[in-house]
Amino acid sequence: MSFDFDLLVRFAPLLLSGFLITVVICFFAGIVAMIVGLIVSLGLLSKFALLRWLCRIYVEVMRGTPILIVLFLMYYGGPSFGLTLSAETVGIFGMGLYGGGYFAEIFRSGFQSIPIGQIEAARMLGIGKSAIIWRIRIPQMLTLILPPLTNQMILLVKESAVLSIITVAELTKNTTQMVNETFATLEPYLAAAILYWILIEGIALLGATIEKRVKH
């Protein structure tokens, strides 16, 4: 068995561009997931039963469906509804909406672990409900949920490998292309594994750093 280092050098641009696409798509999918998750989590805690119920269905559907099916539905099923999206857009929004279901549950548990007394103290000082959400609940919720949020973000990055199936030129897709062109397997997959590992360790490090900074 031999390890062909030149092969990696030759295909480095292909792998790195795939890596870059993975990073960009995960970044935007993460943002979409955060926004969706935050809105849905507030819905889950709403005093309006209908809203609570709709958000609950959303979470259950997203958690109960494989990400690949969500992506297929959007990419191949979308045109039936007049929704023709690029693979990259489906990647961002598919993963974002999917991750949003998980993020919503994390946010909800974070919101619920803030003692109600803190909210009562704010209400007694005349602080309005939206200011309470933005200035008291969200900052604390984000501190509390950083570890599970980091974890979920890491899972999202790993899940992003399935985007190769709907032809997004991300890391896994480009790695497979390299395998097909070179018939080598060890070098491309090992390189991909290392690149994923670097990205995921980066996220973990970022999460840990933020956690340290916001903790009192």
């Binding site: 803190q118 009562e120 007694m124 000082l125 409900k129």
Partner: protein, 274 residues
């Protein structure tokens, strides 16, 4: 207010009541925890509410702040109905804005302090000044510092609640409530979550406030404090006011059996502690 006036008010709390509670009822499910409470508090009066746990004393105070939404009866703060407005079709829950307006004159201190742990001592105190009263940073911080000074916590202005002892946290919570310059202060078991050696520092701050003529309603287990500071003590049991009066009368010559028993139990326990 001049000292003489404060003393006069303190000595003879009369005039129109600042708080009126009329036939107040509150249920949790099928359990009725307040069964028609009547209560009046006059400006500068210090009222302590005592009673066994489960007697409804905290629920009463929380209903007087509309943190618990009472069903029947009325709470009038400075003559204004708290929590409800009259409509042609009957009584409706008021808007949050109106509720805030009516209870703007009330400051509240909780058993669990309820400081916001992600904010420094100083920001805990400035928060409402900045957000509600829209004060600029400098004036808000000046006001906050004055109030922290008052509770002896100025030196901890830049620390976080997690770095403070329970007694210190409670003093900050008092400063936070005082910063919006309330005319009434509610205390819901302010020392019950504290280690015994930290109770004194909080009671001292409260005693100072009482001397300055603040109207105070205090739910407490500190009988010594009630005896020393209260103008009137209210004994509650099972959702009703059983007995009320000047602390000397109430503690020395309890009329009801329930109060006598309550005081005996308390005496036994505190002598046991010593």
């Amino acid at each position: 207010m001049a000292d003489a006036e404060k003393l006069a008010l303190n000595a003879a709390p009369n005039g129109a009541p600042i708080i009126e509670v009329r036939d107040l009822h509150k249920r949790f499910g099928s359990l009725e925890v307040l069964k028609g409470i009547e209560l009046e508090v006059r400006p500068s009066e210090v009222v302590c509410i005592i009673g066994p746990s489960g007697s409804g004393k905290s629920t009463l105070l929380r209903s007087m702040a509309f943190l618990e939404e009472y069903e029947d009866g009325e709470v009038l703060i400075e003559g204004r109905l708290l929590g409800y407005r009259q409509t042609p079709s009957g009584r409706r829950r008021d808007t949050d804005r109106n509720i805030d307006a009516v209870r703007n004159c009330i400051g509240m201190v909780f058993q669990q302090f309820n400081l916001w742990p992600h904010k420094t001592t100083l920001s805990n105190v400035t928060e409402a000044l900045r957000v509600v009263q829209k004060m600029d940073r400098a004036s808000a911080e000046k006001r906050a510092m004055e109030n922290l000074e008052k509770v002896g916590m100025r030196s901890k202005a830049h620390e976080y609640p997690g770095q403070l002892s329970g007694g210190q946290q409670q003093r900050v919570a008092i400063a936070r409530a005082l910063a919006k310059q309330p005319r009434i202060m509610f205390f819901d078991e302010p020392t019950s979550a504290l280690d015994p050696e930290l109770v004194g520092e909080v009671l001292n701050v409260m005693q100072t406030l009482a001397k300055e003529g603040m109207t105070m309603v205090i739910v407490t287990h500190e009988m010594g404090f009630a005896a020393r500071v209260a103008d009137r003590v209210i004994f509650m049991d099972q959702g009703v006011v059983v007995e009320q009066g000047a602390p000397a009368d109430l503690f020395e010559t309890p009329r009801s059996n329930r109060l006598r028993q309550f005081l005996e139990t308390w005496n036994e326990r505190s002598s046991g502690d010593g």
